[in-house]
Structures are given as structure tokens and as C-alpha cells.
Amino acid sequence: MNDLIKPFDLFDDFHRPMSSWLGREFPFRFGADSDVWMPPVDIRQGDNEYVIEIEVPGFQPDDVDVEVHEGVLTIKGERSSESESNEEGVIRRERRRGRFIRRFSLPNSAPTDEIDANVKDGVLTVTVPQAVPASTTKIDVT
């Protein structure tokens, strides 16, 4: 029903997954199938943490890097098992090769040493705890 009154959402629905597949650096650095792509991500804010879920089908834990530098969380990866250079018999090649990368700026207060990451069924889940609000001490003015 909502689709009927918001026609531009339909374009957005197409555009989002396509540009994710094509990658942000497109069209500046495309060429072979080796360009950088951006897998789709969901982020939710819970009471105590942010939960980031990224779709990385075919990736093993060793293929993925999660790092924090100056308040920026970088999640990147490259399939190690990608040795198939043999293109014989290829009928369809839609799966992205090469590297993926996504970057997110973290709230200043996030305790970065408690970030947790794991891969299951091709979904990488990164949990970023939120800092416990500092207790406020009221100072009486006399």
C-alpha cells in the first residue's frame, strides 16, 4: 500500500542493492572483476551495544579483518580460497571477486577493546558495546 504513494522508494529499493554490488569506488576504478565492493549491512542500536551484521557469503573468519583506528571501524575482507583462475566452462559469473570494505564512525565513547566479531553462515556480526554513561555528581553551589 505504501509503495503506491511513495513511487520514488521503488527506485531507491533497486538502487541500494545495485550500488552495493557495484561498489562505492565505481565508476572510477572499475575494470576487471577485481574492484572493491560493498556488502549489504544492517545496524541496530540496542540498550547496551550496536550490532552490525554484514552479508559476506563464502567468507571464512580468517578472510575478514575488523579493526578500529581513530574512532573509525573498518571491516574488510578478501576470499583466500579464490584460486580458480580457470575460466573454462564459465556460463555465468555474478558473485563478486576481490576485496570488500565498509567503514563506520564510532561514537567517541565506545570501548573499542570490547568489540566482538564472528562469522556464521556467511553473515559477519560485529558487536560494539556502548560506554556506560558516566555517573553524574551534583555539586552544590554554596
Binding site: 533497486f14 544492517d42 541496530r44 550496536y50 557469503p57 563464502g58 556460463i91 553462515d121
Partner: protein
């Protein structure tokens, strides 16, 4: 001079356009509609890219399809004629019910993707496995029906 430059610019532009079309054509095939789960009140993506690779080996056809975050029981793989039909229900799970949405790009719900096969396959010998979010289907070729010859009638 200007003409040469124009020509170069045109060449670069053509290169860009061709590259874009190649990429877009590949992504368009993989673009798949996800109809929302019945109890999903949330704004999740309705379209997702379900990317597949198909390789024609000597005795079999191999299909690899990216379906991250699914349960094996929610996947259905069928061979109908000379097409492979993969359908299923990608559930958003209970974790997504908690908290506030910051970014939502993943697609959830039921979907169906049909992949044309290059030849007749032996349906009984087909094998499928789901690992690391990738569905791998191996379809042995049917030796009796590899080429379908269509007689041409003369009038």
C-alpha cells in the same frame, strides 16, 4: 588538437559506459524480489542481489549461489525442465526485533530465483549443500539428452 581530445574523451566515455553496462547487466540478473515476512513490521529492503555462478564442466553443471544467513530447512532446490529453481524464506531472526534500526540494507522474506541450465541434467543425481552462506548445486549431465535436435519440416 581539439578534435583529437574530443576523440579521446569520447573513447574514455565509451569505455566507462561499456563497463557500466557490463556490470549493470550482471547485477540486474541477480536482482531478486523478497516478499516480506508476514509478521515483519519493519522497513527492510525488498530487493536484494542473489548472485550466482554457473560453470559448465565436462560431465556436470555446477551452480553456486550466495544466500547468507539462511537455515538449510528454509531452502528449496528443484530442477524443472532445463531450469534450476532455488526458492526459500530468509528469516530476519529474533535479534532483529531488538533495539532501534540505524541502517537497513539486507533483504528478508521469501524469494525465488530461476537459473537457466545449458543442457539436460540427470535430476536424480543432483546434489546440493549449503555452507558459509553459499548454496552449491552439482547437476550431472544427462548423457541421453545433451543435445536436443529439432527436426525442420519442409513444406
Amino acid at each position: 588538437m581539439a578534435e583529437t581530445r574530443d576523440h579521446d574523451t569520447h573513447g574514455a566515455w565509451q569505455w566507462l559506459v561499456n563497463g557500466w553496462h557490463t556490470l549493470r547487466d550482471k547485477a540486474l540478473n541477480a536482482l531478486t524480489y523478497f516478499s516480506p515476512e508476514q509478521d515483519d513490521q519493519e522497513v527492510s529492503q525488498r530487493w536484494g542481489v542473489v548472485a550466482a555462478d554457473v560453470t559448465d564442466h565436462k560431465h556436470s553443471v555446477a551452480v553456486e549461489m550466495e544466500l547468507p544467513g539462511m537455515e538449510k530447512v528454509d531452502l528449496s532446490v528443484e530442477v524443472i525442465g532445463d531450469q534450476l529453481v532455488v526458492s526459500g524464506e530468509k528469516r530476519s531472526g529474533s535479534t532483529r526485533r531488538e533495539g532501534t534500526v540505524v541502517i537497513t540494507e539486507r533483504a528478508f522474506g521469501s524469494f525465488k530465483r530461476t537459473i537457466p541450465l545449458p543442457c539436460q541434467v540427470d535430476q536424480g543425481g543432483a546434489k546440493a549443500e549449503y555452507r558459509n552462506g553459499v548454496l552449491k548445486v552439482n547437476l550431472p549431465k544427462d548423457p541421453s539428452g545433451q543435445t536436443r535436435s529439432i527436426p525442420i519440416r519442409r513444406k
